[in-house]
Symmetry: C2
Subunit: 152 residues, 2 copies
């Protein structure tokens, strides 16, 4: 457990948007949105969620932690794959319900569980009145199926 | 109303993550997360949410529409301020519960309702065991208080 606690958000809009206290506005599930970009070239890598514990651990250790909504568990990014994220800076959005992490990715420099560098690898377009996806051709940087293989 | 409809997400993970059909995974509130960056320099501008109607309108018109959770209404970004977002490209995340919009911002080239270019203008740090914010000094690009003044 982290010792770092967050004060509740101020009801005063000016304090929330212009003050010096970081008081994250967690949603009904106790989460804020986290947008993650590469600190080097600014590439958008992923979007995830953090609860208070993940936020506190990230601030205290300098390594990105999230809350896995699918596994309902604290998630130290890269623990299995080695693709740990060193946090260069964290910013908050005006009304403090989201954060932006600028990170250096260790390991394979890959963030997506498919093995690709970024989770955003397909463009959305319209064709014959349907929304379709086009792969941008980014190749996997590690063997995700072997890395995440469940023990038999 | 938009004519564009989205098929339900495939239960097959490979189809969802590697297929050509855009089948957004809306959350319990019917929303996906939208991350918005400047198509020119890649600057992270805002994080918002889209329902099916906002997604469809954005794809059909090429102008960013969102769902305002606070106002519970469809929200054409920039309708009041003039800071309309022209969408250069839209990408989806691996499991299709978020999208990334690369946009050109018209008007004042400002996205934040505080008048700043980006909603991310404060860095989060630790000081004496407390999480504190430091303003990055970005100045308002328009007079937000006058622009958003409610009619008396």
């Amino acid at each position: 457990m982290s010792a770092l606690q967050f004060d509740p958000p101020s009801p005063d809009k000016d304090a929330l948007e212009g003050g010096e206290s970081f008081t994250p506005r967690f949603d009904a599930n106790g989460l804020v949105t986290a947008v993650v970009t590469d600190a080097g070239d600014g590439k958008l890598l992923m979007v995830a969620h953090m609860n208070a514990e993940a936020l506190a651990l990230t601030l205290e250790t300098g390594v990105a932690h999230y809350w896995s909504r699918s596994r309902k568990a604290l998630w130290k990014k890269g623990e299995t794959s080695g693709n740990v994220q060193e946090v260069v800076s964290m910013l908050t959005v005006c009304d403090q319900d989201a954060v932006w992490l600028r990170v250096n990715v260790l390991g394979h420099d890959a963030t997506c569980h498919t093995g690709r560098r970024s989770c955003f690898y397909r463009t959305v377009g319209l064709k014959d009145g349907k929304a379709i996806l086009a792969d941008d051709g980014s190749a996997p940087l590690f063997d995700a199926s072997a890395t995440y293989r469940k023990p038999s």
